[in-house]
């Protein structure tokens, strides 16, 4: 049988983002997948030379629109560590509220796109309808739907009133109820199971060895989550990583679904324990030295490295995003599967190309 090479992307109906894969096929079976990147590269790490540290928050938020809040939080955590600034407790709790809201909207978005990738459009529409409630919360509390820009160095920009806290809780109760109504479809439906169970298997050893992160790693049975480090207010909240053992597309689907419910519970806990007080610490001076910071994004571990020389601008900023770490596991999952399953498996790592290429 001769080999056929099929290009997948950069513009493809399943993927909203441009990534190119050269798929080498034998009959219907993929034998090799070579990713080609660079369609979204903007070079924003180098922008730190012309934008000062306060302006850079706006830039790093646009590394990826879907998890913008968490990028900004990682940036702020690193610089606060370098400058010995301690954000007030209320700001730490508010950061958790908004980052978990972002995780809920990102996971609902992904669950919808995943359903769409195997043609289950009704579920896609249902999940995106639920997601709009979370977007409404973002808009009502921060003034924008996607890029909410609530982080500043030393705290947060916006506060929540008691009335807003009650309203968010009631909205989240509805989100949780609507999600639980869909639970039997997402976890037991014949169509979903037949398209995902046993597809794109990543064993526990392989996942660890190739450095997978986030739900891709937890779907393979490794209980690693950067939220266990207890940054911000997470150390005061009850939290256990969600783990599944099978390592296939279905397990990753299940991890993300259960994490959505877990995030709702985290927001609820954070709103309940919200301490009173200031939302921002005032500070002076510029950062100097080196620092790293890590947080858990919806897609996995996010890592920032900073190097500063005492001026307003950073000398070097390095961002390692979760999809970058998940591409080698993806390339390992693809050989041996049928061409029709490629979109499902590519989506099962929740690729964010905009993050990867910056």
């Amino acid at each position: 049988m001769s080999k056929t090479i099929i290009p997948f992307g950069p513009q493809h109906p399943v993927l909203p983002e441009p990534i190119h894969l050269s798929l080498t096929l034998e009959d219907e079976i993929v034998v090799e997948a070579l990713p080609a990147l660079g369609y979204v590269h903007r070079g924003l790490e180098k922008l730190c030379e012309i934008r000062d540290i306060n302006q850079m928050i706006q830039v790093v938020e646009r590394v990826c629109g879907i998890c913008s809040k968490i990028h900004a939080q990682c940036f702020c955590l690193g610089l606060e560590k370098m400058m010995n600034v301690e954000p007030p407790p209320r700001a730490e709790y508010l950061r958790v509220v908004w980052s978990e809201l972002h995780r809920i909207h990102s996971h609902l978005l992904w669950l919808g796109l995943f359903a769409d990738s195997f043609g289950f459009e009704a579920l896609f529409y249902q999940l995106w309808k639920i997601r709009e409630r979370v977007m409404d919360i973002n808009e009502a509390t921060a003034g924008n739907r996607v890029i909410i820009s609530v982080n500043v160095l030393g705290g947060v920009r916006r506060d929540l009133s008691a009335e807003q806290v009650r309203w968010i809780t009631s909205q989240l109760n509805m989100v949780e109820q609507e999600l639980k109504d869909l639970q039997s479809t997402i976890l037991d439906d014949y169509t979903i199971r037949s398209r995902t169970v046993g597809k794109g298997i990543l064993t526990r050893e392989k996942a660890y060895e190739l450095g997978a992160v986030g739900p891709t790693l937890r779907g393979s049975g490794v209980a690693q989550d950067c939220r266990q480090l207890g940054s911000s207010a997470l150390k005061h909240l009850e939290f256990q990583p969600v783990v599944e053992q099978d390592g296939d597309s279905f397990a990753r689907n299940k991890v993300r679904f259960l994490e959505t419910l877990q995030s709702i519970s985290l927001v609820r806990q954070a709103l309940k324990g919200l301490p009173k007080g200031e939302i921002k610490t005032k500070f002076k001076g510029s950062p100097e030295g080196e620092a790293v910071s890590r947080v858990e994004q919806p897609r996995g571990e996010l890592f920032y490295y900073f190097k500063a020389n005492g001026t307003k601008n950073l000398e070097r900023l390095r961002i390692r995003t979760p999809t970058f770490a998940n591409i080698p596991p993806l390339a390992a999952m693809l050989p041996g599967i049928e061409l029709a399953d490629v979109p499902v498996i590519v989506l099962s790592i929740d690729p964010c190309i905009s993050c990867t290429e910056r």
């Binding site: 950069p10 513009q11 493809h12 109906p13 399943v14 909203p16 983002e17 441009p18 660079g38 369609y39 979204v40 590269h41 903007r42 070079g43 924003l44 180098k46 922008l47 012309i50 706006q58 830039v59 646009r62 590394v63 990826c64 629109g65 879907i66 913008s68 978005l109 919808g112 896609f124 529409y125 995106w128 309808k129 709009e132 977007m135 924008n144 739907r145 996607v146 890029i147 964010c352 905009s354």
Partner: protein, 146 residues
């Protein structure tokens, strides 16, 4: 007569091609949100297509960089005339927050002609619907409109 019939169809049911041209995903997820139940543009007959050869309207989000400008040009050339291009978001208009970055060419209109500009970072779904409706007005004006 046939061309009049075609023009009527085009206004009643435009098929849209969405291309992410180096955006941060903010505008892309808003463009997708436009297609889902809360905003639901399918009630206006707008359908999202994956194939440039079937599309009437090209929605472009994000900045143009040196690698994807060829892809963008290629997609535009594959679309049959008459066609309209809508640039979405601050990045698609001028490069936005990234305009000084080294790999950014600038707005979409540096590479292909743009008919409608939708501002915002990210553009709101309501604004995107408004942009598409404006593009339809161009179709209504006839072949010289676009």
């Amino acid at each position: 007569m046939f061309s009049k019939f075609l023009q009527k169809c085009r206004v009643k049911s435009p098929w849209v091609l969405h291309f992410d041209c180096g955006s941060c995903n903010g505008c892309d997820i808003e463009t997708l949100a436009v297609l889902t139940p809360v905003y639901d543009v399918e009630r206006f007959g707008i359908i999202n297509m994956g194939n440039p050869k079937h599309a009437d309207v090209l929605l472009v989000t994000g900045t143009v960089n040196h690698r994807n400008k060829k892809v963008l040009r290629n997609l535009y050339d594959q679309m049959p005339s008459p066609k309209a291009v809508i640039a979405i978001g601050a990045c698609g208009l001028s490069g936005g927050v990234f305009r000084e970055a080294f790999n950014v060419v600038g707005g979409v209109d540096k590479v292909i002609p743009v008919n409608v500009y939708v501002p915002g970072c990210p553009a709101k779904p309501e604004a995107i619907i408004d942009g598409v409706v404006r593009a339809l007005e161009l179709f209504q004006a006839g072949p010289e409109g676009v």
